[in-house]
Symmetry: C2
Subunit: 222 residues, 2 copies
DNA sequence: ATTGAATTTTAGGCATGACTAATATAACAC
DNA sequence: GTGTTATATTAGTCATGCCTAAAATTCAAT
């Protein structure tokens, strides 16, 4: 199956379908419209085109799915995005909350050469600064530790943050200041009504549930 | 005067007008059409829009000129382009003939933050790998040594290459192999019918006139 | 089964930035 | 000056990718 040249819009649709599919069983037109910040009729129209290109399959009123070719393209865009995020953070001194926006624009524009160059420079990393897995050069998703959202974890114990499920700049910069970043070891203290009490590098915080559910941790059973 | 958000196309028009203006006294619609790889009616249309935005001035059948605001934007794009070229060469191991194409796409997409980051990293360079001056952060053109095209230089003497006036990949990679790059010192031997005979690092070459006129050298009078 | 709400699609429009074909203007040679 | 050639403009199309308003379909609740 051929890989046609796509517009940035089309790449964004495929990427978003992929990401939604990771979370939900089925991807609705409305989900897509919300994520892409576009009205539903625009989604219908674009999905029709992507169908005609054999990049997605669409059961009307049911849901959308990527074809194999569509998924490859989505993974390519995702690889660009995540490599770029890591690159911006590591080599251009971007802060955690700035990388997403810049990568969002660059991902559509860099060449294979650029992708390979930064991947080499960073020794072919497997995860970006948010803990999201970076698809490999041959577009496989690397193994990740099995993760669970912070609020689902019980008991008093030490755990390691694996992934932070938001791109919201305000939340990210808050999490960064609290040192709630991937790789960080935290101590689970108590599950309270208002949130989850944890200790990080000696300091205690109460993490509200709304934020705690964005933090996924390595699920080391006690 | 406001700086409106421009499309990539519009940025390209402004950039190209600026570059043509450096060479020729006047910039015609046809010149632009050729450089932008577009038909003349498209240029007429776009120039009208840029006029309405107060970015260019246009005397019909005479020529196009940038306004002050238009020139600032052109310089900004040019700064992006040339910083990117240097960055790709220095930090991502791009070869001389690969940098232009990639910079051409990235220049429209990088943020001020990105621009500042790579400028810092490279210690605020004044010239790109082709010897083209990089506009400063406040959009002034840095002083360059006064240059003259190789074929215009007489006598037998040593000169330094200052700038190479092409973006053609084949010519660039040829020049690179011959070490005819900015900063290189070459020894002028003889002006022959077929070209110009020079010595570079001990080896003699005959540089055809078609290529020699792309090579501009520091004009140190003898 | 039927109504009502939510979701999706159709129909029709708009801006952008290209294009072709045809026309108008300028510039130059004689 | 007239005619020829260059150049530039106008007029009208087209593809993209978005929009709103209205109609169709599905799903769930009674």
């Amino acid at each position: 199956m051929e890989k046609p040249r796509l517009s940035e819009s089309q790449e964004d649709y495929l990427k978003e379908i992929f990401k939604l599919r990771e979370m939900n069983e089925t991807v609705s037109m409305q989900d897509l419209a919300r994520k892409l910040d576009v009205r539903p009729p625009s989604v219908t129209g674009m999905i029709k085109k992507l169908c005609a290109m054999n990049l997605v399959e669409h059961e009307p009123y049911k849901g959308v799915q990527l074809t194999e070719t569509g998924e490859k393209i989505a993974l390519e865009v995702l690889r660009h995005h995540r490599l770029l995020e890591l690159y911006l953070a590591r080599h251009l001194n971007y802060s955690w909350d700035e990388i997403h926006e810049e990568a969002e624009r660059l991902e559509h524009v860099i060449s294979e050469k650029f992708e390979a160059a930064i991947a080499d420079l960073m020794d072919h990393p497997t995860h970006d600064p948010h803990g999201d897995p970076i698809p490999t050069a041959d577009l496989e998703i690397p193994d990740s530790p099995s993760l669970a959202p912070l609020p689902s974890l019980k008991g008093t114990r030490s755990i390691v943050i694996g992934r932070v499920m938001t791109q919201d700049r305000d939340i990210l910069s808050l999490l960064f200041r609290l040192e709630l970043t991937p790789g960080q070891e935290i101590e689970l203290i108590k599950n309270e009504a208002a949130g989850i009490r944890v200790r990080i590098n000696g300091s205690q915080y109460l993490v509200p549930h709304s934020i705690a559910r964005l933090i996924w941790c390595e699920n080391t059973e006690t």
